[in-house]
Amino acid sequence: MTLADTLQTSFRTVLSYRIRSLLIVLAMALGVASVVVLTALGDGARNYVINQFSSIGTNLLVVLPGRAETSGSFLGAVLGQTPRDLTLKDAQLLGRLPQVRRYAPLNVGAAELSAVNRLREVTVLGSNADLIPVRHMQLAQGSFLAHGTERNAQIVLGAKIAREFFPRSQAIGQRVRLGDSRFIVSGVLASQGESMGFNTDEIVIIPIDYAQQMFNTTSLFRILIEAKSHNDIEPAKRAILAALKQSHDGEEDVTVITQDAILATFDRILHTMTLAVAGIAAVSLIVAGILVMNVMLVAVNQRTAEIGLLKAIGATSSDIRRLFFAEAVWLSFAGAVFGSLLGQLGSLMLRLAYPQLPAWAPVWASIAGVLVALITGIAACLWPANQAARLDAVQALSKR
């Protein structure tokens, strides 16, 4: 029996058992599709997080005051340490380090913003002119806080705030009141939406001195630092720690987080998660493989007389084995192809439903899904095909 005839004959057998074949192909296809869609989801989440992190700045380092994060507690006192604040002086000191391109000190608080008979509570960010480049923010109109003029009573509004307070008129140049102080609107931020849990559309930014005055504090929430290049990130981190240790009387009471380290950690976690869901989905493929085995065993049993006849008219055992084998190959192949298409369709629908999620199945996952489907389907058929080949012709023929 030629290979082409074997394939053709078994293909027609597959077609003639229409419902049975359809169900197996469906089971296989769902297995493959779930591998594709779940890895698309996992990889999409990974890329989403990485994009988010990249969007907050490049070569970014964040300096947090040591354990003063949990302010109000007596942790420092209990441990016999002096919780030392990060100050504006510290920030200026770091700004002079050779590895540092620019820095932006940050203070965060809440205050009432009022103008033209409107009033609402807003999140107030105190910073300097370099916040825009450090944090990759964009202005829609006007200008940001001017360099070296931190004393000027300027305020920059988030896109939504600007829209709410000045729906019809130009926001630039308007006078507003924040807390007890008066400010002049110098710029409006471009709408960027949510980014790392911080909706920049609903904040206002004022010079750091005003913020410290308003919230009656000399300590900083954190300092954002941009290193000169990617290679300067680690040296910058060491230099920052050294400089602050020196100025804090030899105590290392700050934490420096590099964007790179966070990124690498998230990348690792989410990659592992993608692998895990792919593995779970692969289990369904193995279930489909067992289904193929079951169906093929039933088929051998059902077609016993036919197998006997084939032997009587001159089929060898390997002809019979190949026929059943080819049948499983067709079923698995159809399942794999159909499943890949289904998976791509599923990923497309995910991308349409959640445009911010780049849910593309990685190439390795698509290939692995198809391969696992083919391998399990074929492996599952080895035993039934052998059973068929080993049937005794006389006994098989006598079975009605």
Binding site: M1, T2, E306, L310, I313, A315
Partner: protein
């Protein structure tokens, strides 16, 4: 030429040993028309299966056309079945999901005959057995006589030298059975060795040589002189 020499075949039924064939010696020359008769359990079907290489004897020698075939490997035996032997069964044994034409085509596919030649030969066979109108029908849509005609067409499509028929009319009524017998006898007239297993005396009597079996042994072996 079929030459059987001291063929035995035993089956084990539980702890009982059944001698289906007990020291059978038989020579059938090419072109003979032989009927093998006997009650059920006499070993006549086992004999047919051994001659058709579907079953292997426990001991003894079997020569087909001068070649010892008893100990040939499975692949070689399959090839001989394909090329030299045609089987006709009582229950037809057609593949239910294939059309009449496709059933007839099966031995050609197994032999690796190219598609175009298969087409021609199947057409010829359909013509010869008056099945042209029924070529695209499945077995379930055919009458008993038509089914057996398809089965005979399939058995002869490879132009075998031996046709082995096991109760070929057992599932057919008398008239249709007679028609089928005529077809088989026509094959014999064109030179094919025809061996028919039956327990129908009338049918057996049509053959030129009649072998009666009982308990795995040949009881009588008569030849008509009118042949």
């Amino acid at each position: 030429m079929i030459r059987l020499n001291a063929i035995t075949r035993t089956f084990h039924m539980g702890d009982q040993v059944v001698h289906a064939l007990n020291d059978i010696n038989l020579v059938i020359t090419s072109g003979e028309y032989v009927s093998i008769m006997g009650p059920s359990g006499s070993g006549k079907s086992t004999l047919l299966n051994i001659i058709g290489l579907l079953d292997r004897p426990d001991s003894g020698r079997y020569e087909l056309d001068g070649r010892l075939v008893t100990d040939l490997p499975e692949i070689e035996q399959a090839r001989i079945r394909r090329e030299k032997i045609g089987f006709v069964f009582q229950s037809f044994h057609l593949v239910p999901r294939l059309t009449a034409a496709e059933n007839i085509e099966l031995p050609l596919i197994l032999s690796g005959v190219p598609q175009e030649q298969r087409q021609i030969r199947v057409d010829e066979a359909l013509q010869a057995f008056e099945l042209k109108q029924r070529a695209q029908h499945r077995p379930a849509e055919l009458s008993g006589g038509q089914r057996q005609r398809v089965a005979i067409a399939r058995a002869t499509i490879m132009r075998p030298s031996v046709i082995l028929a096991d109760e070929p009319t057992g599932n057919l009524d008398h008239q249709i059975g007679a028609e089928v017998m005529t077809l088989l006898e026509n094959l014999h007239h064109s030179g094919t060795t025809l061996i028919i297993v039956t327990h129908d005396r009338e049918l057996g009597a049509r053959a030129h040589r009649q072998i009666a079996m009982r308990d795995g042994k040949i009881l009588t072996d008569q030849s008509d002189d009118t042949r």
